[in-house]
């Protein structure tokens, strides 16, 4: 109980703002009571309820209150910090209050929305949450954001349609690009495509156009037959160690990276009797079409070959479109060839593809549905199938069977993910930060992704994702310096004994060991503020700013007082 270390006593002046959020909060709990309760909490000198705190009026309210009541802490009880925390922090900043002396409480998504039918308890819970926030606010310390210089150059890994598009976009924005492609020539999957859906433009024509454009750009440096060996540094200041065509290692410093290494079509021996001659994959069909003549009279295509099963559970989403495109092209080359597409569900998303499907039906291409429990069997003469509606076995003689196999992740993808410390999903595709909110970003800042290495994509999608990734890079490299949050870890040099207990616990490799002083140190830019080091350090030398033991314990104790 006693023995508190003497702390310079700064008179606490906390302002609490309770938001109605229209009826989202006020409709389900008694905001007025919560405001009155807030006013009674220790250190609170000002408590106000308003209709919309995030509105112009709401923001002004906060700023005036800070000046008028000389507030040194602000607590806003409203919606999720994800939505408006930056807005409120900046408004505090412009009113002269350090933005880290701000605490936000979610009494909407975590309270009013989930307890709609229980107004009385929701109000009590809101009071608990506010009390916790005020308890923690008392111990908040002012912080400064961390600033670091930026290298206005970008590394693009992978020279396929996505990579080339990204390079084109970045170059056009005036940023220098370093493109690294594993094979001798650029182009990726596009090289062996014949026609590009839906307009049916010639793939090679598109390919040449792209390669010409990118290689002619003065600010794009291309390494073919090259590979990224290792990556040092941190966002804004990476150093790529590239093994170039002649096997030398070249160092290139870049600010951001775009990963576009694409994916490869599944070629599985024995799948539906695949032999590469009479039973081939769509990708093996493309060069045949390129020759311009087609003699097989009866063609059977089988969709979801090796996909949406136990081994690979995902739908590769573009193989239906490819199958229909190739089928229509076969009809063009030899109109009387009979084509049957055996499918489970036709994935023809988007207006043009829907139109394509109807045209294909118009051209006499027959579509037969099959039940995955009884998949078609490819005999040496015909393909036998159990028709789910009729419940009878039916047969189709064939000259050629074309399997629509899914795109699968490249084997070397996992190696790159280790190297860049970026996560992958269970199918080996790179995992983006957020499917909707940040589709082209990785969780780690400064690294972006595009094309089939993220998920199987058509040429158009690869292209638009490439350009999109370029735009995302712009959001970072077009500022004069990189500003990262101050909520990072710090290690007290006086008490650290250099036991390196924290070093191996840092998922981002942000902790380094200083040989002479025999202590560990945090690289503030690399640190993501996860707190693993703070949790492991036995002597509390490592701590996470904003989440120090005092701040957390005060919250826990506040809940106990409820």
């Amino acid at each position: 109980m006693a023995g508190k270390k003497k702390k310079e006593f700064e008179e606490l002046r906390i302002g609490v703002f309770i938001c109605d959020c229209g009826s989202n909060i006020a409709g389900h709990l008694d905001c007025k009571a919560v405001t009155e309760y807030a006013a009674t909490l220790p250190g609170v000198v000002f408590a106000k309820e308003n209709l919309y705190t995030c509105s112009e009026a709401g923001i002004l309210e906060i700023q005036e209150a800070i000046k008028k009541h000389k507030l040194n802490r602000v607590v806003v009880a409203s919606c999720s910090p994800r939505t408006h925390q930056p807005l409120f922090q900046n408004s505090c900043k412009s009113a002269g209050l350090n933005p880290y002396l701000f605490e936000m409480v979610n009494i909407r998504d975590q309270c009013s929305w989930v307890h709609m039918q229980d107004r009385e308890n929701a109000t009590r819970k809101a009071m608990d949450l506010v009390r916790m926030a005020v308890a923690r606010a008392a111990f908040l310390e002012p912080q400064q954001d961390i600033e670091s210089p930026l290298t206005p150059r970008v590394g693009v890994i992978g020279g396929g349609s996505a990579g080339l598009s990204a390079a084109e976009g970045l170059s056009r924005m005036g940023l220098e690009v370093v493109l690294v492609e594993k094979n001798k020539e650029l182009g990726g999957l596009l090289r062996n495509l014949h026609k590009v859906a839906p307009e049916g433009v010639d793939a090679s024509e598109r390919l040449e156009g792209l390669i010409q454009d990118v290689s002619s750009r003065p600010n794009v440096k291309i390494f073919t037959g090259a590979e990224l060996k290792s990556l040092d540094g941190y966002v804004g200041n990476y150093v790529m160690n590239i093994r170039d065509g002649e096997g030398q290692t070249v160092k290139e410093s870049v600010g951001c990276l775009v990963i576009a290494i694409g994916a490869i079509p599944l070629v599985q021996k024995g799948l539906f009797g695949h032999d590469g001659k009479r039973v081939i994959t769509q990708m093996e069909l493309e060069p045949i079409l390129k020759k311009g003549k087609f003699d097989a009279k009866r063609v059977v295509m089988i969709q979801c070959a090796g996909a949406r099963g136990d081994e690979r559970s995902y739908c590769s989403r573009i193989c239906c479109m490819i199958a229909v495109k190739n089928a229509m092209f076969i009809k063009k080359l030899s109109p009387d060839t009979e084509i049957r597409i055996l499918y489970r569900d036709m994935q023809m998303y988007g207006t043009e593809k829907e139109k394509m499907l109807w045209e294909a039906r118009g051209e006499g291409i027959r579509f037969e549905v099959y039940d995955p429990a009884h998949p078609p069997e490819v005999g040496d003469k015909a393909v036998r199938l159990r028709q789910p509606l009729l419940g009878r076995e039916i047969e189709f003689a064939y000259d050629l069977v074309v399997l629509s196999t899914p795109l699968v992740a490249r084997e070397d993808a996992s190696e790159l993910s280790q190297l860049l410390r970026v996560p992958m999903d269970q199918n080996g595709f790179f995992l983006e930060a957020h499917a909707k909110l940040r589709p082209l970003d990785f969780a780690a800042d400064g690294i972006f992704l595009a094309g089939s290495c993220r998920y199987p994509a058509t040429y158009d999608e690869a292209r638009s994702q490439g350009l999109g990734a370029a735009a995302r890079v712009g959001t970072i490299l077009f500022k004069d310096k990189l500003v990262t949050s101050a909520i990072v870890a710090e290690i007290n040099p006086e008490t650290c004994v250099g036991c390196m207990g924290c070093l191996q616990m840092c998922p981002y490799g942000a902790i380094s060991y200083d040989q002479e002083r025999k202590i560990c140190q945090v690289n503030e830019i690399l640190c993501k503020g996860c707190g693993c080091c703070a949790a492991t350090c036995p002597s509390e030398s490592a701590s996470l700013r904003g989440f120090k033991p005092q701040q957390l314990m005060s919250q826990i104790r506040a809940v106990m007082e409820g």
Binding site: M1, A2, G3, K5
Partner: protein, 527 residues
């Protein structure tokens, strides 16, 4: 202590009164807890529910200053039930009848009335202690710091003699001495009435002996005690005080008087290792070496004389205390040229019977427990083996007398002072140690929840404590370790000095002040 620290392990009943053992003598508590583990019954009688009380088999909380009543009540039950040790009483004691008469008017009902301890508890204590194979008593300042201090100790002696729990292994009346060398300081004659080895100054042959040994004219008049010196300074009969390693401003009662007294002195010399509030009032301050910077011996609570050894040189110009005094003595014409502490010990051994056999060489290893009269004597584990020093043990007929000061409307609460675990006495050393100040570094006054709520006080509030002699400000600590009507304060913190409040009333015989009891008022301080 009549017996040794490790003997507590052998007792099958330990009666602890007036001692916060786990806090003030943790290593003694080690032995007591081991005895408990072997099945011994631990009894704790203390107004404040100290930590060892939680570990006791029976805890009773008697009102402040009613120790004699409680003990007499226990002895009443022992006699009433016939649990006394007849053989021991006949053979080794005298004055029993006188004593028995007094005990007769302390029946349990009356004692329960005076002390607030339930009758059945008094009976249990009597039963456990009297019928134990080896019962031992452990006590500390809770017994001695009263105007009835001597009475309390004599009553404990009565209890031990009544039950024959004295002069055998695992028994005895064991004062837990507070400081590392308080036993030694007494042994060495640091008292106004005795030379080293408790040889009385008034006895002619003793005076003769020391006069010839020291070659100086000595006085046979019993000198003044510290409280008498303080009042002497105030009246003007005393002119000078030479203070070595003491901080009376904080450790003596009624601090404002002490301050006044020191200011009136013509010469105040303080010899210490740190600047203290007392040193601030001195005319001359002399820097001394601390325990780690000198060779010598100290005597602990179980009479064990042990070596301290010099680990490093004193800082700056500081010197050991004996070097300073010897130098001063030479300047005043009395030659003192000791070459080492060992040489001084040789002189001590030659003049002090109980230290006769003590030499530095023999102290290597486990040290020696005095009395150790000759060079080949192994030292004494426990005293009073077959006979008491005076022959027969004398029973004392002692009546209960209430404390000097009593509460009234203006000062409704009792204050008792004492030690904290994390600090030591005036904090001169412990308040310089980060590990200890980190635990606690301010005065906390403990008060009972009922009193606290009546006064509108909760833990952490600033409060004012006022007595007839002064006022201090401190933080409140509401805990039901204190009974209703009683508050506790420690005396480690000069900025909130409990001894501003304490009552300078003394025990008539030994002049020990009544630190443990005075009347105070408690109010919430205006923040």
């Amino acid at each position: 202590m009549t017996n040794s620290v490790d003997e507590f392990e052998l007792s099958d009943c330990i009666f602890i009164t007036g001692s916060n053992t786990t806090s003030s003598h943790p290593i003694v508590a080690t032995r007591i807890l081991r005895a408990k583990k072997k099945g011994a019954k631990i009894i704790v009688a203390d107004p404040r529910r100290v930590h060892i009380a939680d570990l006791a088999d029976l805890y009773v909380s008697h009102r402040l200053g009613t120790d004699v009543a409680l003990l007499n009540g226990i002895m009443y039950v022992i006699l009433d039930k016939g649990w006394e040790n007849r053989a021991f009483i006949e053979e080794r004691t005298e004055g029993f009848e006188e004593f028995e008469k007094v005990i007769k008017d302390y029946p349990p009902e009356k004692v329960a009335e005076i002390t607030g301890v339930a009758e059945k508890d008094i009976e249990t204590i009597a039963h456990w202690y009297a019928t134990a194979e080896r019962g031992s008593i452990a006590y500390c300042m809770g017994i001695t710091q009263h105007t009835t201090g001597v009475d309390n100790v004599k009553t404990l002696a009565n209890l031990a003699m009544l039950t024959g729990h004295i002069g055998r292994e695992g028994t005895g009346v064991n004062p837990l001495r507070g400081q590392n060398n308080v036993q030694g300081a007494c042994d060495m004659g640091g008292l106004p009435n005795v030379y080293p080895g408790y040889q009385p100054v008034t006895q002619f042959q003793i005076k003769e002996k020391f006069e010839s040994a020291w070659g100086a004219q000595l006085s046979d008049k019993v000198g003044l005690t510290i409280p008498e010196m303080t009042s002497g300074l105030l009246e003007g009969s005393m002119k000078a005080v030479y203070i070595v390693g003491e901080n009376p401003l904080l450790s003596d009662p009624d601090a404002s008087h002490v301050e006044e007294a020191l200011k009136r002195a013509e010469l105040v010399v303080v010899q210490d290792i740190f600047m203290t509030p007392t040193a601030e009032l001195a005319h001359v301050i002399l820097p001394a070496a601390c325990f780690a910077e000198k060779d010598g011996t100290v005597t602990n609570t179980e009479r064990r004389v042990m070596r301290t050894r010099k680990a490093l040189d004193p800082p700056g110009e500081a010197k050991t205390d004996w070097e300073i005094i010897a130098d001063l003595s030479n300047r005043m014409g009395y030659p003192m040229d000791y070459s080492s502490a060992e040489e001084i010990m040789r002189e001590i051994a030659s003049l002090t019977p109980s230290y006769g056999g003590i030499t530095y060489e023999r102290l290597e290893g486990e040290g020696l427990q005095w009395p150790c009269p000759t060079k080949d004597h192994p030292g004494t584990r426990f005293l009073h083996k077959d006979r008491f020093v005076r022959g027969k043990g004398l029973f004392h007929a002692i009546e209960f007398k209430p404390p000097a000061e009593s509460t009234d409307d203006e000062f409704p609460l009792w204050l008792t002072t004492g030690r904290l675990y994390f600090h030591f006495h005036t904090g001169t050393m412990t308040r310089k140690s980060g590990a200890l100040t980190g635990e606690i570094d301010e005065q906390y006054v403990e008060l009972n929840p009922e009193d606290a709520s009546q006064l509108g006080i909760s833990t952490g509030d600033e409060i004012l404590l006022t007595s007839r002699r002064g006022q201090i400000r401190a933080k409140a600590l509401v805990t039901d370790r204190m009974k209703k009507g009683e508050v506790f304060a420690s005396f480690h913190f000069v900025e909130s000095n409990a001894n501003i409040l304490t009552n300078p009333a003394f025990d008539p015989i030994v002049k020990i002040p009544e630190y443990k009891v005075c009347a105070v008022r408690v109010e919430k301080a205006a923040s």
